[in-house]
Symmetry: C2
Subunit: 177 residues, 2 copies
């Protein structure tokens, strides 16, 4: 699957996946800013409502995990989203420690319309790709995202590091405080 001219894909920018992903993500966030900044919490607030709509998680802790934020941050986010009338917190009858995050009609509507506009932003950011390439990229990224979200990152990190015997090093605690 040769793409275009590009002498060597690995050498154009330095080859670090973190840098490449970061550059694309920054561009997307920057462009999407004006679309999501009417929602409390901005892009993250949108993702909370969006995830709640899809109903794949049913307490705040899992919601926070999926979005990669601390559970305390989720509290602040939900405070603002609830105050704006976009979501409600409902105690889980099965385990009253849990709070289920349920979008309101207003939240659902706003989320859907934001979703549509974000899709346009996406196509714009991915503008250097053809339609087919865009779909390929989205598909591959989604598969990777599903994979990494399904596994415990720390456990994975340990197994990955264990294979790295490039230089003799002490294992390191991997957490700093």
């Amino acid at each position: 699957m040769q793409t275009t001219e590009q002498p060597d894909d690995g050498e154009v920018l330095g080859g670090d996946l973190g840098f490449i992903l970061g550059a694309v993500l920054r561009a997307y966030v920057k462009t999407a800013e004006s679309v999501v900044d009417q929602i409390p919490g901005g892009g993250r607030g949108y993702q909370v409502v969006s995830t709640a709509i899809h109903g794949t998680v049913d307490n705040q802790r899992d919601l926070a995990r999926r979005l990669g934020v601390d559970r305390t941050v989720m509290t602040y986010l939900l405070d603002d989203l609830e105050a704006a009338g976009l979501v409600t917190r409902q105690p889980d009858p099965a385990d009253r420690r849990n709070r289920q995050v349920v979008p309101t009609d207003k939240g659902s509507q706003l989320c859907r319309s934001t979703e549509r506009r974000l899709r346009l932003i996406e196509d714009h950011v991915l503008g250097s790709l053809s339609d087919a390439e865009r779909e390929t990229l989205r598909s591959l990224l989604t598969r990777v995202a599903c994979s990494v979200l399904a596994t415990d990152p720390m456990q994975d990190a340990c197994t990955a590091i264990a294979e790295l015997t490039d230089e003799p090093k002490k294992p390191r605690p991997a957490h700093k405080r």
Copy 2:
């Protein structure tokens, strides 16, 4: 979070590119943490040295722009990297306001060895893809990254927003200060 059979790529996670990219990037950063945290500034410090090696920018301002950080942050980063003997700051003879960032031998060596280990991390994070799919993903992402880095993000944002006539809205300043 059930991963099951993945009925529809676009619906599995909600479809937001920012979320997908964020999830993959978080997993990568988390896994790569123990590889880069011996470098001052962590992953960002590595990217500074790596970018300096490739020699595509020759002052601190452009370096900061490419990495998506403020120029003041770049000063702090370079202070630490220079103190660790990984880079040097050399005044540009042509314009003495500029400082060229030149990696030392030690910096180059550390960067190369880190680069090799990061590549293993990458393959691990992208482990759910085949070799060919990994190359496709890297190629597509690199093309998009090159594209967005070559254009002014703010200008792009304006043109993108201009096309969004989904709902009648005031144009919004799009910058907050």
